[in-house]
């Protein structure tokens, strides 16, 4: 269980909230680069951390993320004309550049300086990998750009998708460090999903449904180790890194691409789940990439032209009781991503954590909440920069390794859980 005041603090991310200020210390995904595919393309609406914004790519290729509403009369700039280095409000023709600076007010005299004094709130928008990243905090404390490995590999090595989740970010994120649900909820996927099946480690997973857990601090967050019995004298370890505030990676399986997530608050009752796959040593195969596009692995099949999953709460997630009965889909819902989102959304927009009955196996979640609370209050009360801001903290990998029983998992696998360019992921 969690005290109500702490639950409130951790789940509210709007401007001026403690958790909102924490998120505003980090570079985070604002949208996918594919949403702004070419110079001068149509702008898109975005809501991030309860702020309504519009993102655009001007005719010269510069990216901008600015207040959605024109400073004049408050019309939405989503209707804007993207023309000649700026976004022009179609109502009265006010025009803004990618920094939010108003550069033209047609009703003013030609030599008027009025426009110079009009500037919309804006945030930087930078393309790294498949993602456009933003930083919504104080420009004076803007950290260096993020250095997550998935985004820095060559384009043919990675794939990123996103989906709209209709729940608070925290209950979505907590699924990412909750290794114990995999054996149940995703058991069908271990056998059949083209991006999971065939790995030797899957058998360890399926043979031992009561893993032991270790939860250790890292510079940027946590490492959660789940250990299962392997061959005589050894354990199979699945190690999940969490980098604050909401980056997690799933331990790999065989030579399949490695994957993970970001959970980004849209507002307090909705979030984006960004899901990525990459292989540091080779390009993704055509079959792998197609499987990702088709919604296998950690990805979702979305309604064309949107980022809403086809299986969603409005159609009861296309629940199939027959597949549930046979165990092909343990919960009756198809696909890893929707299996997670269906249950997390069922908790309600913001789950009431005062009613929980946690067990020791939830220690990763307990520890993560504590670290988020500590970081948010230390930032609020003392201005302490939180873990995960330093790009050095981003250099982590998940790992799946077999270790002698007497080995401490982090001591033995320290090299396996850090990015080592030119070295393969550690996987079984």
């Amino acid at each position: 269980m969690l005290r109500q005041d702490i639950n409130e603090l951790l789940t509210r991310t709007g401007p001026g909230t403690a958790m909102g200020e924490l998120f505003r210390q980090y570079w985070m995904p604002a949208c996918l680069a594919e949403e702004l595919p070419e110079d001068g393309c149509p702008p898109i609406r975005l809501k991030l951390l309860s702020e309504r914004l519009v993102a655009f790519r001007d005719s010269y290729g510069n990216y901008g993320l600015i207040d959605e509403f024109c400073a004049h009369r408050g019309a939405s700039l989503w209707f804007g004309r993207n023309e000649d280095g700026g976004l022009r409000c179609p109502y009265h023709g006010w025009k803004y550049d990618t920094t939010g600076q108003c550069v033209e007010v047609p009703s003013e005299a030609d030599n008027s300086s009025f426009a110079e004094n009009v500037k919309l709130t804006s945030y930087p928008l930078v393309k790294i990998g498949d993602v456009l990243w933003t930083y919504m905090g104080d420009p004076a404390t803007q950290p260096p750009l993020p250095e997550f490995e998935f985004a820095l590999t060559p384009p043919e090595h990675h794939y990123t998708s996103k989906r709209w989740q209709q729940s608070n970010w925290l209950q979505a994120f907590e699924g990412g460090i909750d290794s114990s649900h995999v054996t149940f909820l995703h058991s069908g996927g271990l056998r059949s999903d083209p991006l999971f099946k065939g790995a030797k480690g899957n058998q360890y997973n399926l043979n031992d449904t009561k893993p032991f857990f270790e939860v250790a601090d890292s510079d940027g967050g946590l490492f959660v180790g789940a250990r299962r019995n392997a061959e005589e004298g050894s354990y199979y370890w699945r190690i999940t890194p969490w980098v604050m505030p909401s980056f997690t990676m799933v331990p790999p399986r065989g030579d399949h691409p490695i994957h993970g997530h970001f959970w980004i608050p849209i507002d307090d009752e909705n979030c984006w789940a960004y899901s990525f796959d990459y292989h540091p040593m080779r390009p993704l195969t055509e079959a792998e990439r197609q499987a990702m596009v088709d919604g296998h692995g950690v990805h979702s099949k979305n309604i064309p032209g949107t980022y809403r999953p086809e299986a969603n709460m409005d159609n009861d997630y296309l629940m199939n009781r027959e597949k549930q009965r046979t165990g092909e889909w343990y919960s009756g819902v198809e696909g890893i991503a929707i299996q997670d989102s269906s249950l997390q959304e069922s908790m309600g927009p913001i789950v009431d954590r005062t009613k929980e009955r946690l067990v020791p196996a939830d220690s990763g979640i307990i520890k993560a909440r504590q670290k988020l609370y500590r970081a948010a209050t230390a930032l609020r009360d003392k201005g302490v920069t939180p873990p995960g801001v330093d790009p050095a903290h981003h250099h982590v990998r998940s790992a799946a390794v077999v270790l002698p029983q007497k080995e401490a998992f982090l001591a033995a696998a320290r090299d396996d859980v850090r990015v080592r360019p030119g070295f393969p992921i550690s996987s079984v």
Partner: protein, 171 residues
């Protein structure tokens, strides 16, 4: 003139997931579900538990494991307040045992406790105070001692982790 009124029928899941529907969740007091037994395996851990025990706990009891290095079942408990305690009696009503250590001097106690809990189907957790993730430290030795006996292990815990874990478990 007739006006067509289109009503949208929400799916079961969409309707149930709203904040409005959350108001109808059964809201009865939750009884403490865990009878927690919290055991310090060494002197450093005993200091921490003496402070932790001062918090309000629903159903937790705190002990120091005094001896028992070696043979299984040879463990001797005393209450954190100095009162005598018998392992078998204390475990009879326990549903979770949390072991706390700062070094490996309590390895015998961890073994005995872990074995007794396993035989009784009692969940175990272990917290090592200090940085137990780097080899060669007292905390790392404690991690090695606890690993076989704790279903969940926090190898780099601090005093607040003890309180937070017990609070989350509602003991």
């Amino acid at each position: 003139m007739t006006v067509a009124v289109q009503t949208q029928t929400l799916s079961s899941c969409a309707r149930a997931a709203t904040a409005q529907e959350a108001r109808y969740r059964i809201d009865r007091p939750i009884a403490p579900s865990r009878a927690g037994r919290v055991v310090a395996l060494d002197e450093g851990a005993a200091d921490v538990l003496s402070r932790t025990a001062q918090h309000d706990w629903a159903n937790a009891r705190f002990y120091v494991c005094e001896a028992g290095a070696g043979a299984a079942g040879d463990v001797v408990l005393r209450g954190i307040d100095g009162g005598p305690a018998t392992l078998a009696d204390e475990l009879a009503s326990a549903s979770v045992v949390v072991m706390v250590a700062t070094n490996d001097s309590g390895v015998g106690g961890a073994y005995a406790l872990g074995k007794a809990c396993w035989e009784r189907g009692i969940q175990t957790a272990g917290l090592v105070l200090g940085d137990g993730t780097h080899a060669g430290t007292a905390a790392a030795a404690a991690v090695a001692a606890l690993r076989p006996h704790a279903r969940v292990l926090l190898p780099s815990a601090d005093e607040a982790d003890v309180v937070d874990l017990l609070s989350a478990l509602r003991v």
